[in-house]
């Protein structure tokens, strides 16, 4: 029981969480009996789950509807659990948990090209030819992951992703990319495991010469990555990747069909479920990718029939599940893509790239949720008068604040240039309270 106090949480507190959760979400109970009685050892560790909407989601049809405008499109807004906050009618499950989520409706970013937009949103910096900035997942790996000595698997996991780069923080903080089945390719055979020790000794002998041969940092980085790979392939924490695996020492159960169904039997849903397991074993940053948002044509049909049902289920499930486990206050949820989409509907009933006025969703993390910060004008074309415009750095500074990373942290690029965390962004006051 001593541990409980160390982690600042007790059983009664935990059960109260359970009770509230049960009251608001009658539909699904994510906790089995065993889990409900298990220790929540790691629940005070901070984590972030980034839901990355590759292609640029039309936030005007999801989070910031304009039913009165010619740009409004086909969807109607509905009320949510958060008073005064309306979202798309095709997000009904998410609407129910919106007390734990928030919107920033006044994002105004400057990059409307996929590559540049992705870079900007994930690093807070615009691309620059002389320096590669780390994506925020790498920053978290560097700031938090390094200090989680018990963590044997990478501190930055990307499900179905792969664009992120660690930049000047070094290859060891690059995302570990897995697909949504959680299958890790090229795991060692039994024989391989047995011979590993001898082989690594030999490797050490062979590569030390090259490492000290004045050829820069790459040879050393190679060694560091190998160390991470060896840690990973010999760790029981690997069970977190496989939703069908249980490991009682880690508090992981094989996920039931009901739980898997609740998240949605699609890449995004199963990726989020994996993300929850990874957070349970202490991974501080997990990115889950959902693509297919580059809707230059047929935007409404695609949203209504494909994208939004999956999105809705996934967000609702992860929010409720984390809450029931008492993990939501320590886990920040971030939902964003590289940009929004044009308010104007094009001749193919699509929306094109648009960075001037769009929305990002945040949640959990102990933030003051259940609100929409900022607003766009009546046609969604620009940030409304009197509303503050936000940059990606402000979002990441908010996340940093929620995760306990000092917002005034400064990193140093390889060239010795100081690089402010989140490009010097400021936490969004309304959200941090």
């Amino acid at each position: 029981m001593a541990l409980w106090n160390n982690y600042g949480m007790n059983r009664r507190h935990f059960m109260q969480h359970m009770a509230t959760a049960a009251a608001t979400i009658p539909a699904m109970n994510f906790l089995s009996h065993v889990q409900a009685n298990a220790d929540v050892l790691k629940s005070s560790q901070k984590s972030c789950i980034l839901m990355w909407m590759g292609g640029g989601p039309p936030t005007i049809d999801i989070w910031d509807l304009k039913p009165e405008s010619k740009n409004g499109g086909e969807f109607k807004p509905i009320d949510t659990a958060a008073p005064g906050v309306q979202i798309s009618e095709h997000m009904p499950e998410t609407a129910k948990v919106f007390g734990d989520l928030s919107l920033v409706r006044s994002m105004s970013t400057r990059e409307a090209d996929h590559g540049r937009g992705r870079y900007y949103m994930q690093t807070s910096y615009v691309p620059n030819p002389t320096v590669v900035h780390p994506t925020f997942g790498s920053v978290v790996s560097y700031e938090i992951g390094r200090n989680r000595k018990a963590l044997e698997i990478p501190a930055f996991v990307s499900v179905d992703g792969g664009a992120g780069q660690a930049g000047f923080l070094g290859m060891t903080h690059a995302p570990f990319v897995v697909d949504n089945t959680g299958r890790i390719r090229n795991e060692p055979s039994e024989e391989g495991k047995q011979r590993l020790g001898a082989r690594l000794t030999m490797l050490e002998e062979i590569e030390s010469g090259f490492m000290n041969s004045r050829r820069g940092e790459l040879p050393k980085a190679h060694k560091d990555v190998y160390r991470n790979a060896v840690n990973l392939m010999t760790s029981n924490q690997m069970a977190a990747f496989d939703v069908a695996k249980a490991d009682p020492t880690l508090g992981l159960e094989a996920e039931s069909d009901a739980v898997r169904d609740a998240y949605g039997r699609n890449g995004f849903g199963q990726g989020l479920l994996m993300a929850r397991r990874l957070v349970q074993v202490g991974v501080p940053f997990v990115e889950v990718n959902m693509g297919g948002w580059d809707l230059h044509a047929g935007v409404f049909d695609t949203l209504k029939n494909q994208r939004l049902p999956q999105l809705d289920k996934g967000i609702a499930a992860i929010t409720a599940d984390l809450k029931q486990r008492g993990m939501l206050d320590n886990t920040v949820l971030v939902w964003m893509g590289e940009f929004g989409r044009t308010p104007r509907i094009n001749q193919d009933v699509g929306r094109d790239h648009w960075a001037a006025s769009w929305s990002v969703m945040l949640g959990g993390g102990g933030l003051k949720n259940g609100q929409a910060v900022g607003a766009t004008d009546k046609d969604g074309l620009q940030i409304a008068d009197g509303s503050k415009a936000y940059l990606p750095g402000d979002i990441w500074a908010t996340v940093a604040h929620a995760m306990g990373i000092p917002v005034n942290t400064v990193h140093t690029s390889k060239r010795g240039r100081p690089m402010k965390l989140a490009n010097g962004g400021t936490p969004i006051q309304e959200l941090i309270g």
């Binding site: 292609g55 640029g56 010619k70 740009n71 409307a112 090209d113 996929h114 590559g115 030819p129 002389t130 990478p154 179905d160 992703g161 792969g162 690059a174 995302p175 570990f176 990319v177 890790i184 390719r185 090229n186 795991e187 055979s189 391989g192 001898a198 082989r199 000794t201 030999m202 490797l203 002998e205 062979i206 590569e207 010469g209 490492m211 041969s213 004045r214 050829r215 820069g216 940092e217 790459l218 040879p219 190679h222 990555v225 190998y226 790979a229 990973l232 392939m233 693509g291 580059d294 230059h296 044509a297 104007r344 509907i345 001749q347 009933v349 790239h353 690029s413 390889k414 060239r415 240039r417």
Partner: protein
Amino acid sequence: MTLKCAGGRWSICFKTTVSWRLRILVKQAGASVMGFGARILRWSVAVFTVAAVTGAMLQVLASARLVADEPVAAEQAADSGVSLAEFIDQQIRQGWTDNEIEASPQAADEEWVRRVYLDLVGRIPTLAETKAFLEDKNPRKRSLLVDTLLENEDYVRHFTTIWTNNSIGRATPQRVSRSGMEKFYREAFAKNRPWDEIVVDIVTASGHFEENGAVNYILAQMQMPDEGVQLTAMTTRLFLGLQVQCTQCHNHPFNKWQQDQFWEFNSFFRQVRKEEHRKLDPQSGRMVDDYSEVVWQEFTGPVYFEKRSGMMQVAFPKFQGHEVDPGPGVDRRVELAKLITEPAENEPPQIAQAMVNRMWSHFFGYGFTRPVDDMGPHNPPSHPELLARLSREFAAADYDIKQLIRWIVSSEAYQLTSQYGEKNKIDDPAAGEMPLFSHMYLKSMQAEQLYDSLIVASNAHQSGNGGWSAQEDQRRRWMQQFVVAFDNDENDESTTFNGTIPQALMMMNSELIEKACSVERGSFLFEEMSKPGADTQKITDLYLAALSRKPTKPEISKMQKALAKYGPAKLNGYQDMFWALLNSNEFVFIH
């Protein structure tokens, strides 16, 4: 009135296209109506000027000047006094002097031979090839080896891989024929076709995706109904070395290209249409995918685009100030192909500069600009005179790719070791510094290079794996585990290969590495172990096979000690040694 270029001679044509030349500034209004016709109706004409007519006349004057300047530029190149080879070395040395650094010494033959094989033929040398080169006493052996490698079929294979990846990506997009694209490049590199012809073939390609493989570039860039936006952005980036994708939506503060130029360039591609054919599968009785093709479609007049202010504007086909008749009966891509091989103002043709920059970066890891495909006044090159002269001479040499490679690979800089010293440790582009090429920079092997190198190291290339296409298939299947496609209109992707954990896991545990370290009949280790010879000899051969160099004396004794621990299971010791050599940093980097 339009300006035309035919057979290198300029002429001015008057045509009745004046009505299109009126710049129409129209403001968007009305409800969200769909359809092209409706879209025009929604705009009300706001302003009308004859500025475009005046502009066209000014361009005629500018072009006349350009014609006059051309011979002067050519003379300057010829008269600069020094040979190109000397000029390259001079320019690079100047950078060392200016920055007060001293270059590293020449690379040993062992370091150099591995580098040149990987750079030119995309794989490490075989044990026999390494030994032959190291034993060769000919003082000209480096340039002789370059000539030999340029005739090697693996040269064709390597550059085909690179340009297929550049053109259609590693994750082949829907309804695109990778084998068609590969066939096109294979023929082009095998015949050493002039680069400008290759580019023209790609830009103007039409037809069936396997009969004319060049069309696959266009098919790959037309994955979304985006009015040729991606095709426009990719073509300028890949073949002209210009990044203009941002100017699609707005004028770029630092880029010479403006928004109207983006759409002027885009208007060259509006006569392109792709057709995806389906056929009946007699066995299942269902319709299945058949072939794709690029066909011509009628398109005249301007394209329309929206300014940030919401104003609509028009853009006519125009490149580097040369306008093309927007009327009927003109194949705009054919006209574009003529224009992109022309010099721009006083500079060598942009396609020459783009290729030179890319090729330099291929061999040194860094080009004259960073990134290589973002050239222009906003991003000045590290060695402007060198870039200009190499580009001019490349164009003058009829865009001879092998010649360009010879120039680069014969340079003093390419001979240097990758080890830096006290006097040039500041030459570190990985830290963001401008490259000075005072030592070779480490490059990470591309996935395909690593695959092919493992095959070579393990002798698998000699066990007759069934020809080009079977090998390509195997490599492609293997490659897919590292490719992540992003599913957007830029058709971009990334690989998880670049030095990350998945790559390490593959190197440590995959079937490929297991095979490489196997002692089955026919494998490298089997051959090596069946030969007579002392441990010293075998250790030396293992180092030569994997790292293309002999081990040092301390390394030999370390390895002997390590082997001794295996006792009677010495064979296992050799296997583990080879495993470790292939997993070493020295193996995975090109140095």
